[in-house]
Amino acid sequence: MSRLLNVSAAPHAHSNETTKKLMYGVVIALVPALLTSIYFFGYGALIVTSVSVASCLLFEFLIQKFLLKKPLSINDGSALVTGLLLAMNVPSNLPIFIIVIGALFSIGIAKMSFGGLGNNPFNPALAGRVFLLISFPAQMTTWPQPLGFATKYVDALTGETPLGAMQRGALDALPSTNDLLLGHIGGSMGEVGAIALLVGFAYMLIRKIISWHIPVSIIGTIAIFTGILWKIDPSQYADPLFHILSGGVLLGAIFMATDYVTSPMNHKAMIIYGIGIGLLTVVIRIWGAYPEGVSFAILIMNAFVPLMNRYIKIKPFGEEVKNG
């Protein structure tokens, strides 16, 4: 026989799932939230998103090409996701140079310096966000009012976030649940519009891009913890629904904490990780200096992931005999 045959070890079939497809799946899941933020914040949201995505892609390209001299992988979608998530985590009137610095930190420091995709211990977009929050506290906490395309990119009318209001103790000035659900509130681009984020969550669950374990354990923990506090003293503490729908809880729980690389591998560890994020978030929000704690909570728990992967194990099949 003249033809050459492939001879390789089993299996001879593959699911056709690829990193690229998963990453673009996340991008699709982010579209509703992106549209919502454009609807509420107008051109600013478009500018911030485009700059963030473009600079993340560019930095990854430059670093791979000239510093690491490795094969290019910018079309695997991971830098695109980082760019989108970074944009989602900042105010829509953030000056361009700050976004570029954030992208450089996210891609250059948090991702590529650890070896690129798959090796970074911290969520790149969150690392970028927290870097900016510490470096540019004023710009990072000036929130444009959600006036749609009337919202100006420069010199926008600004307001406060629901959590900001809570922080200064103005519990009666909090927005209604309806506004929280639809996104008619101040905040980072991705913090507005709970429904849009939940649509993305549903999509990722159906496509099996992520499992329910991390988001549900984060949200559940926050609900229980803040619920207890609220029961104790409703005049001092906001209700659990407000805590869940405001700030970065949904964005963090659905899109940031579930980042493959920086979250645990098995379901048991995922739930513990989620509970940790939930607890830290509430502690920071209620007793910390910052009004919002999701980013810090996720980054802190990211640091525990290698340990969790090492020591939190699921019981292998057949290890404990359960006959019945």
Binding site: L5, A10, H12, T18
Partner: protein, 447 residues
């Protein structure tokens, strides 16, 4: 519907030949019969060049308890005794026979009428299975008589019959159930007698409703045999998973089904038992699925052992122009074949011809730690970690993580979005760790 709880994947089923009835493949002009078609010691050849043999005649005698007899699958003259490369890729001694006619041993009852009256005693049944060279037909080819003989101090309370056929493409068991249902159920009752159990459960994946229906109807006439639909999920037909699905028992790590009081046999094995016990027919033919998306006449063929795979492919319309890989067995656990002259052996369940475009592995990229392999592992191990440890040569750590327990079902490798060759690493790790364990044991003994 019954299933195992953790892990598993859903590869496209591609059961192209489910509707193709079993066809008898014409006897080829020559056959090559290897002496080691089973797990255990190779059989010892007892014939010589020039001998005339009949169909069903013993040509190689089993050596020891874990070994089986090998019989001639044709009548004719032994042309030589030489070596052959078997479908698994191993070179081993084999008997070459030039076919002349088809004269069966007179002791074989060739009447096709159903004989449901089992007269042999338990011990006689086991002896007959041993004489007839029966092995598990599902692929692992473990000698049947060893499994039917319950070791001292153990007991068996239920016999499980594997009709899951969870490998994509393969339909040989499916067709056997449809066309030889009666014989299979009698075979099951024979094995129940040998094991002295009064209960047998047949598990069939729900993508074969006709087979479930058919066997249900027949088994209703037999005491203690029940048929159960199983969820379509790979590896439903893996021994440990099947036991979990059917009777909710977990075989402890490193142990055998008998340790949870059960024995698992395959559907086609039940048929072979029927033939051996009721018709005194040794195992010298079996059904092989020949399939693939480009195959002209895919089908299920009743083939004499020793027929070359080339013959089978010719019967199915020849090798398609776009063939890129030939796999013996199913796509998940089968072996890629190097040469088409390899003979069909007792454990050959199917030949799958993959198109060129299907036959290349996907491109490999870095692990993104998505955890899909952990969720897919039917044994709840952590493939990504074991593979990484093996990759770095950290075999002790890989051993701690349980790499030796891997059943090689390939679910992790199948699901990996980064296209990492996980199973390659796991196999390497498993072999190395098992070797290390043997060396440790030997050292201990030496001291």
């Amino acid at each position: 519907m019954k299933s195992f709880p953790a892990g598993g994947v859903h590869p496209p089923q591609n059961k192209l030949t489910a509707g193709h009835g079993i066809e008898k493949l014409p006897i080829p002009s020559s056959v090559v019969i290897p002496v080691s078609q089973h797990i255990g010691a190779p059989a010892e050849i007892i014939v010589q060049k020039g001998d005339i043999v009949k169909t069903g005649q013993l040509i190689a005698q089993s050596k020891g308890f874990v070994s089986t007899n090998i019989h001639s699958s044709v009548s004719g003259k032994i042309s030589k005794i030489d070596t052959v490369i078997d479908p698994q890729g191993f070179k081993q001694p084999a008997v070459y026979i030039d076919v002349e006619g088809d004269e069966w041993l007179p002791s074989i009852n060739r009447d096709t009428g159903i004989d449901s009256n089992v007269v042999l005693t338990a011990d006689e049944i086991i002896n007959r299975c041993q004489e007839a060279g029966l092995v598990g037909m599902g692929g692992a080819s473990f000698p049947i008589h060893v499994k039917l003989k319950i070791p001292e101090g153990k007991k068996c309370d239920v016999l499980l019959i594997n009709g899951a056929e969870c490998e994509p493409y393969l339909t040989n068991d499916h067709r056997m159930m449809l066309e030889y249902g009666e014989e299979i159920i009698i075979g099951v009752s024979i094995m129940m007698k040998a094991l002295k159990v009064d209960k047998a459960m047949i598990g069939i994946e729900s993508n074969k409703p006709d087979a479930i229906e058919h066997l249900k109807k027949i088994s209703s006439r037999f005491l203690g045999i029940t048929v159960h639909a199983l969820k379509v999920k790979y590896p439903q037909g893996a021994e440990k998973q099947l036991i979990k699905s059917l009777i909710n028992r977990e075989v402890p790590l490193g142990r055998l089904p008998i340790d949870v009081n059960t024995v698992v046999q395959n559907i086609s094995t039940a048929y072979a038992v029927y033939e051996a016990v009721q018709k005194n027919k040794p195992l010298f033919e079996r059904v092989v699925t020949v399939t693939g998306k480009s195959v002209k006449n895919p089908g299920n063929y009743m083939v004499r052992i020793g027929t070359s795979i080339q013959n089978l492919i010719d019967a199915a319309g020849g090798l398609p122009e776009d063939t890129g890989k030939i796999v013996v067995g199913g796509p998940m656990m089968g072996k890629a074949l190097k040469n088409l002259s390899a003979p069909v052996v007792k454990g050959t369940s199917g030949i799958v011809l993959f198109q060129e475009i299907e036959s290349n592995r996907v491109e490999e990229s870095p692990c993104i730690r998505c955890g899909k392999c952990v969720s897919a592992c039917a044994l709840k191990l952590e493939p990504y970690l074991m593979a990484r440890l093996v990759e770095k040569g950290l075999y002790e750590r890989a051993e701690e993580e349980g790499v030796a327990n891997c059943c090689e079902c390939a679910s992790c490798h199948y699901i990996c979005p980064a296209g990492r060759p996980l199973l390659d690493y796991l196999r390497l790790g498993k072999q190395t760790v098992l070797r290390m364990a043997r060396e440790r044991a030997a050292k201990k003994q030496a001291i």
